[in-house]
């Protein structure tokens, strides 16, 4: 899977490991969750109002398009949350979600 975002600068940062839907990925320290996911994947989550998947829109906390699930814990606004080592992200609600 090729990522949507392309790194142009600031590539010398330390790696950070996380998982998306159970698969391991690597990001860089200082990435937002959105950057971390979209440099490896094409979208952040399944859509909730149509067939289109979602990949964020405004990147400044105004549109709320980029909320992403975690395996255990609250949802995150991907554009304004720094990625942390060991994050276990989900592109769809966990199965326990009603």
């Amino acid at each position: 899977m090729t990522g949507r975002l392309v790194r142009l600068a600031e590539k010398g940062r330390l790696p950070v490991r996380f998982t998306l839907d159970g698969s391991p990925f690597q990001a860089l320290a200082g990435d937002t969750v959105l950057t971390a996911v979209l440099t490896s994947a094409r979208s952040l989550r399944a859509g909730d109002a149509g067939p289109e998947r979602r990949a964020g829109f405004c990147l400044m906390g105004a549109c709320q398009d980029c909320w992403i699930w975690q395996e255990d814990g609250p949802r995150l606004r991907a554009c304004s949350t720094p990625v942390a080592p060991g994050m276990r992200l989900l592109s769809q609600p966990p199965e326990s979600w009603p």
């Binding site: 949507r4 975002l5 600031e10 200082g30 829109f57 105004a62 709320q64 398009d65």
Partner: protein, 460 residues
């Protein structure tokens, strides 16, 4: 000591905080960013290494001065900075603030809102695809994260940011496939006498655009974004002479200048008026920014004057606050603001909102991208229940989604007005509702201890 709270730490909020601190007050500054600066002077996270000239270009010195001013005030304990915190509601003299430790009340005597602006959006059929972003997003991705939104990016819309983002992306080595401006060259040329109020800025913009060469096209019509499940594959458009064109791409960034962010101003009691020049609802205020009892507005959230205007307006709002408190204050300088107003009017005329194109969107076009509501559904709602924005919202769910109408309500207004033959102002405005940001139920269940109330540290 009087409790003054500032919301927003961009150029307006920073200068307001500085002015109050110089007068001996210790304001609380609530900001959503991790580091102060706002959007245009946004700072990358700690540990990033590009120098300010690379991040902010010709405006680097201003950015550095603002950041230094704010960091100094924080280090000296002269302001109470609350980063990563969002105001979700305002009621009875209390802000409800969602931050790293949960939901906290923040009582205030005077409130200065410096909430900035977002991109002003016009829907393009297919814009709900993943990989379609706002123009501001393209700039934030580059500035704050060092990334491009795709490998072949189409930038489309209008306004000064269109050329600026294109130039910044090119300089950083991103693949820009096209820069498509819906504003005709004629409208831009006719605005030049007004734009001459800031000759250096205007010439800089024109030079930047000249360097884009044939990538830049004026007077285009955007027809649709073709996408597969993965995201955009091409943007279909017509050039100024009406010829059909197609630009292959994997990302699209859209924006038509800016929209004042007025959600909190409205919750705080500001009166909003539809401004046809800007095709949006704007808060009413006196020249100093007074917008109600104890309420002051500054920066792009009040009037779209840009970063330089925001610094001035931030000072003015703080001076108005000091005047009303009967405290000593510096002399207000309204003169420079008049020149910036003239320039801003020029920008509004040069890069207008594409109202006619939005009104003519096909019934199948998704207008509210949060809820997937089409132009046809909006027109049908108006036919049933009348062309009033809130009623149409209730009936259709258009504007009821995650973004609370921030990115569709201008288009909804234009579509309702055109469908029923009324002026956009008559279609009304979707009322701002709390919470202004998503609020987890868990945050409401926890009762904050009185000690957790946000109070200015200088309170006596």
């Amino acid at each position: 000591m009087t409790r003054v709270v500032i919301v927003g730490a961009g150029p307006a909020g920073i200068r307001a905080a500085e002015t109050l601190a110089q007068a001996g007050l210790c304001p609380v500054v609530i900001d959503e960013g991790a580091r102060a600066g706002g959007q245009i002077y946004r700072r990358p996270p700690e540990g990033f290494t590009r120098p300010p000239t690379s991040l902010y270009g010709s405006e680097a010195a201003k950015a550095v001065a603002l950041h230094g001013c704010f960091d100094g005030l924080v280090a000296q304990g002269r302001i109470d900075h609350r980063p990563e915190s969002s105001v979700v509601a305002i009621r009875d003299g209390v802000l409800h603030v969602l931050g790293p430790v949960g939901l906290l009340p923040c009582p205030f005597d005077r409130l200065i809102l410096a909430t900035g602006a977002t991109d002003r959006l016009a829907p393009v059929p297919g814009w709900q695809a993943p990989g379609v972003f706002s123009l501001g997003a393209a700039q934030i991705a580059l500035k704050a994260q060092g990334v491009a939104l795709g490998r072949r990016i189409v930038l489309a819309g209008s306004g000064p940011l269109l050329t600026l983002v294109a130039a910044q992306l090119q300089a950083a080595g991103a693949g820009v496939a096209a820069v498509l401006d819906t504003a005709p060259l004629g409208a831009q040329a006719r605005a030049l006498p007004l734009l001459a109020a800031r000759p250096v800025v205007t010439l800089r913009g024109l030079a930047m655009r000249a360097r884009l060469g044939r990538l830049y096209r004026a007077g285009v019509t955007l027809e649709r974004i073709e996408a597969d499940g993965d995201g955009p594959t091409a943007l279909y458009w017509r050039d100024a002479r009406g010829r059909a064109r197609e630009t292959p791409c994997d990302a699209v960034a859209l924006g038509w200048h800016l929209r004042s962010e007025t959600h909190l101003a409205e919750l705080a009691g500001a009166r909003l008026v539809h401004d046809p020049l800007w095709s949006q609802w704007r808060p009413g205020a006196d020249p100093m920014g007074r917008a109600g009892a104890g309420l002051y507005l500054a920066g792009d959230g009040l009037c779209l004057l840009g970063a330089d205007g925001a610094e001035i307006a931030g000072r003015l709002a703080a001076i108005a606050c000091l005047q009303d408190l009967g405290l000593p204050h510096p002399a207000p300088d309204l003169r420079r603001l008049r020149r910036l107003h003239r320039f801003a009017t020029g920008l509004a005329r040069a890069f207008p909102y594409p109202a006619a194109g939005v009104a003519a969107l096909p019934d199948s076009a998704v207008i509210c991208r949060c809820e997937g509501i089409t132009a046809g559904a909006l027109r049908e709602s108006a036919a049933h229940g009348g062309a009033e924005a809130n009623r149409v919202k209730s009936l259709s769910r258009g504007g009821m989604g995650r973004c609370q109408g921030r990115y569709c309500q201008i288009a909804v207004t234009e579509i309702l007005a055109a469908a029923t033959g009324i002026a956009p102002a008559e279609a009304g405005r979707m009322r701002a509702q709390a919470p202004a940001r998503p609020l987890p139920v868990s945050a409401c269940l926890a009762d904050p201890a009185p000690s957790q109330t946000i109070l200015p540290s200088g309170r006596r």
